[in-house]
Amino acid sequence: MVSKVDLSVRIGKLELPYPTLMASGCYGSGEEFEAFADLSKIGAVVLKSVTREPRLGNPMPRLVSTPAGMLNAIGLQNPGIDWYLEHEVAKFAKRPCAVVGSVAAFSVDDYAYVTERLAARAEIAAIELNISCPNVGSEGETFACDPDLTGKVVRAVRAVTDKTLIVKLSPNVTDIAAIAAEAERAGADALAVINTLRGMSIDVHAWKPRLGNLTGGLSGPAIRPVAVLAVYEAARAVSIPIVGQGGIENATDALEFFLAGASAIAIGTANFTDPRIPERIVDELGAYLAARGLQSLRDIVGKANAGFGTPFQYEGDAG
């Protein structure tokens, strides 16, 4: 009965059977979760961000649990693009879902360099540009915190690939709409909204911050209202699709994002509670829509957002 409802989404050139992406850095390369979740029932896995050079990442501790969420400061630990292409990427072909590469860098040139090499691989369906990682000093995030830098890096990356380009924005800004608009102008096919919020937790016995990196990124239900608003504001400013994320744990949470104007969602921290959550969300979304006599998830996108420009959202679709 639920199967009649169309949950498929289109993000740039990417056609996904389900609107659920697994958030970057939370799901390994998918393989780690394969025994616990049915990857053929998710839209796509977004890989851990990869950089030009290998990175050991931040000192421990890298995780702190906080009220209704957690702080993380992994520091982009990854083997670097050379090793990644040689030893890892071929394995992604086996995934029963789309695989989206995530690129992080510290300069415009490196963003373009890593993207060009990664996007050239057939195993990679699309590229997410992580210009909003809060855990690598202040440099990493400056791109997503400044419209001009955002425009510059997106234009440089756009020039090197035709694959779908998702630009991941930071909530640590005063005007996310301006940055969203700039990313679209510079050629982004979609936006991921939001990355983690900067945060800190202090050990009052040791008199020092709990994270090895001192500061971290806050995720989980604690950030959901911030994320919903960010999607709402970005959706009014652009006509490209938005992948909403931040504290989504169930279909009700997901619906807030769709109604605010997200075309798809990503699930990160909730996978640490229960790896069956993504599949459950898909089932419950289908049931929600069926109970209202709706045929397609697309019918509700942006419906709580009066400033949302629906006609643009799914150009190319029938009807």
């Binding site: 290998p54 990175r55 995780l63 957690m70 630990q77 030893h87 239900p221 744990e249 640490f272 509670t273």
Partner: protein, 269 residues
């Protein structure tokens, strides 16, 4: 399908409070019990659904029953402690790489506090195959030296220590290990990290190889987030295959995936 880790929906069979705040929960979990090897753990999915899952060592795994032994020390373990026979729970596992028992004939197992939860399975496995097993067991006080009888009836020789002197040696359990005259040919250890570091030092002095089960805070528990790393010798067999970075002689391995058990001499801590 090949038996392997999965999400197991299990039912609580029995619940015993071994000491104040120390809970032993037994489950009807035949599939989990069948595929568990010593030193592995599960992520217990919170019944209320609102928190991250809790990593807990698998204490017993025999026939249709598996059990978890844990100390109540926060909201998540408090929630698990409220479970009663008949209640349902979901466990993701078994996870991680456990102890390598090799063909050791004389094994010293060092356990501190809740670390006891990781060492019953290796103790039983070793004793069954005729190895001599000595358990060096330390805790804050005699009450917290829980479930000693089970180890004794499995055939272990027990040496105990308490911080307050209420039972056994008054002091650290590793002091007893250091004093031993007949050297074991393998040491296994699980407990708080100062105890593990001391065990590694004693093992090096004795010239005995040691495997340490590390305790770390996990988020995913399955190797997906890189939140739980420990520096490991690049040449270690357990080191994730990574290119050189910086000085290049160590890599960050995931405690939940490459571990939780590591050879003491391969850790760079």
């Amino acid at each position: 399908m090949l038996p392997g880790p999965s999400v197991h929906d299990v039912v609580v069979l029995d619940r015993t409070e071994l000491a104040r705040g120390v809970i032993l929960l037994g489950f009807y979990a035949p599939e989990l019990a069948a595929v568990t090897s010593p030193g592995q753990f599960v992520m217990a999915i919170p019944p209320g659904g609102e928190r991250a899952a809790t990593a807990l060592a698998i204490y017993e795994a025999q026939g249709e029953r598996a059990s978890l032994l844990f100390f109540v020390c926060g909201a998540r373990t408090r929630e698990l402690a409220e479970l009663r026979p008949g209640d349902k729970l979901s466990l993701t596992g078994p996870l991680g790489n456990g102890f390598t028992l090799e063909s050791a004939r004389d094994v010293a197992i060092v356990a501190g506090g809740v670390g006891i939860a990781s060492v019953l399975l290796p103790a039983q496995r070793l004793a069954e195959r005729g190895a001599r097993v000595r358990l060096f067991y330390g805790a804050r006080n005699s009450e917290l030296l829980v479930d000693r009888d089970r180890f004794a009836s499995a055939g272990c020789e027990l040496c105990c220590a308490t911080d307050d002197g209420s039972f056994g040696h008054h002091g650290f359990i590793t002091e007893l290990l250091a004093q031993t005259d007949d050297k074991p040919d393998l040491i296994l250890a699980c407990g708080p990290s100062p105890m593990l570091r001391a065990t590694a030092l004693v093992a090096a002095e004795l010239g005995v190889r040691a495997q340490l089960a590390l305790e770390e805070t996990f988020a995913c528990g399955v190797g997906g987030c890189w939140g739980c790393v420990v520096p490991l010798d690049r040449a270690s067999v357990q080191a994730p295959k990574f290119p050189k970075t910086g000085s290049g002689d160590y890599v960050h391995a995931r405690v939940c995936k490459e571990g939780p058990v590591f050879w003491a001499h391969e850790l760079r801590w």
